[in-house]
């Protein structure tokens, strides 16, 4: 990135001012569209300013993991399609796409958002598989929070397809009235560190100049269920404490929108 823009943004941050006039703790405008994709069992599209992420949930039937014979299986994937940004390339997911999927996955998994035991059809043999797939439509920074929000919104709006015991087949055309058992709503809040300033929901320009990043995923009860640090710089314990506090507060506000 060019020096003068870097200098300009660093200078703004030192004064606690942001390029789009937001306060340091402000998210961009959040828009949530529920179930835009009928073919998915659940879906959501989330826009954070110009960042635009679509998440779909598909349900299938498979074998449980041997160490959890009576629990359903959650799989989360993300694709940074070259549709969404001129620098995204074709090919298998790169490390940042895999990181994003894993951070979203951890938030859902560790918060216990989905009651996995209720997804058991026959112990040791047959369980529901929950596939969460993240598709980036436009990247303008902070894809993690947008993806996490879209994922939990999609899961909250997921209805199981009809499973025909006789034929052992899923009848995808029909949706049952059974909702996916979701009991918690994890919310991710990402901070960018520029100089000594911390900015919530960094846009793409802020991400370009940030020294470090921290994503904090919180649960409904205010507990933390996932953390992910990125970037070359380091945090002090006080900085982390502040970020945890802010993320709990912001998490509460955003959770109401799901």
């Amino acid at each position: 990135m060019n020096k003068i823009q870097r200098q300009y943004l660093a200078n703004l941050a030192s004064k606690n001012v942001r390029i789009d006039k937001r306060k340091t703790e402000d998210f961009r405008k959040i828009e949530i569209e529920k179930n835009p994709i009928e073919n998915a069992e659940g879906s959501a599209r989330v826009r954070l300013g110009k960042t635009d992420v679509l998440v779909g949930v598909k349900m299938g039937i498979g074998e449980p993991f041997s160490d959890r014979p009576n629990e359903g299986v959650l799989m989360t994937g993300a694709e940074f399609s070259p549709l969404a940004h001129p620098d995204f390339e074709k090919g298998p997911p790169r490390e940042d796409a895999i990181e994003l999927a894993r951070v979203v996955d951890r938030g859902i998994r560790e918060s216990g958002a989905i009651d996995m035991k209720k997804l058991c059809i026959k112990k040791d043999e047959k369980v529901w598989m929950v596939f969460v797939d993240i598709q980036i439509i436009n990247h303008d920074g902070n894809m993690i929070d947008a993806a996490a929000l879209a994922a939990i919104t999609a899961l909250c709006n997921t209805k199981l397809p009809v499973y025909n015991k006789k034929t052992d087949m899923i009848e995808y055309g029909k949706k049952s009235a059974t909702k996916l058992p979701v009991s918690y709503k994890p919310v991710a809040v990402t901070f960018a560190k520029i100089g000594d300033t911390f900015l919530v929901d960094p846009n793409i320009e802020e991400e370009d100049v940030m020294g470090a990043r921290l994503t904090v995923t919180t649960k409904d009860n205010g507990n933390i269920c996932a953390l992910q640090k990125g970037g070359s710089e380091a945090f002090s314990i006080d900085e982390i404490k502040t970020m945890l506090d802010v993320s709990i507060k912001k998490g509460k506000e955003i959770r109401k929108m799901i």
């Binding site: 073919n39 694709e79 969404a84 303008d140």
Partner: protein
């Protein structure tokens, strides 16, 4: 519309029952929106019934790796993909033989419309992502991509429009949907440049007489002409004075 019905006099229209009471000459409800991906040089979303695709265009831009460049024209790369949750049963992400073939034929369908000779040593990248699939993903993808190309300010001869048609019992039917595809004796997707009346994509699978094939292509051409108007409306809406 009246002329369309006339050309189908042979049809047993009254007997035909289509989803949502569509007429044999009618395509599904169509929405075209230009400019949906802010990062792209040009973009569009097209929704035909449930089938929805987003296309974005980047370029003309430098070709990497360099040996791929053409000294006298732009190369056009087209990539078609489907998101895993676009279908009833989850489809695996990543390219397949099917998506590779479709990428190629879509690229070939759009190429005749582009003045590639104006952009030597460059490439134009077209990315099509199907976010919901319910028959006709390639034709919807072409419609979106062509609007995206115009939106990107690329020099073009015409905007390409695309739709499929087939024959069920003795009726020629436009824009087959779902179970109709199985009932039809064939499925013929075409892409069309209405101004020059030239066909740029033609595929078929089925078993049909040559006469029928021509009739079906003619029906699809007429469908394309109407789709063309919708594509233009979307661009005018985005860029209108």
């Amino acid at each position: 519309m009246a002329s369309l019905t006339k050309s189908l006099k042979c049809s047993k229209e009254a007997k035909m029952k289509r989803p949502n009471n569509r007429k044999p000459t009618e395509f599904r409800p169509l929405t075209v929106v230009a400019g949906v991906v802010p990062n792209a040089d040009g973009s569009a979303m097209v929704k035909l019934g449930k089938t929805t695709a987003i296309a974005s265009v980047y370029g003309p831009r430098s070709v990497y790796p360099k040996w791929k460049r053409k000294a006298d024209r732009a190369i056009v790369n087209c990539t078609y993909s489907m998101v895993p949750f676009s279908t009833d049963e989850r489809c695996r992400p990543g390219p397949s033989r099917r998506s590779t073939e479709i990428s190629k034929v879509i690229g070939d369908a759009l190429l005749p419309s582009i003045f590639v000779e104006e952009y030597p040593k460059t490439m134009i990248d077209i990315y099509i992502v199907v976010i919901q699939a319910h028959s006709g993903t390639r034709t919807v993808g072409i419609n979106a991509a062509s609007v995206a190309l115009a939106d990107a300010g690329i020099s073009m001869r015409d905007i390409v429009s695309s739709v499929a048609a087939g024959k069920i019992d003795n009726t020629y039917v436009l824009d087959l949907e779902g179970k109709e595809e199985d009932a039809s004796k064939c499925d013929i997707p075409i892409a069309y440049m209405p101004r020059k009346k030239k066909i740029t994509l033609l595929q078929m699978d089925g078993d049909l007489s040559a006469k029928d094939v021509i009739e079906i292509i003619n029906l699809a051409r007429k469908g394309c002409e109407q789709i063309h108007e919708k594509q233009k409306e979307a661009l005018i809406k985005r860029w209108g004075i």
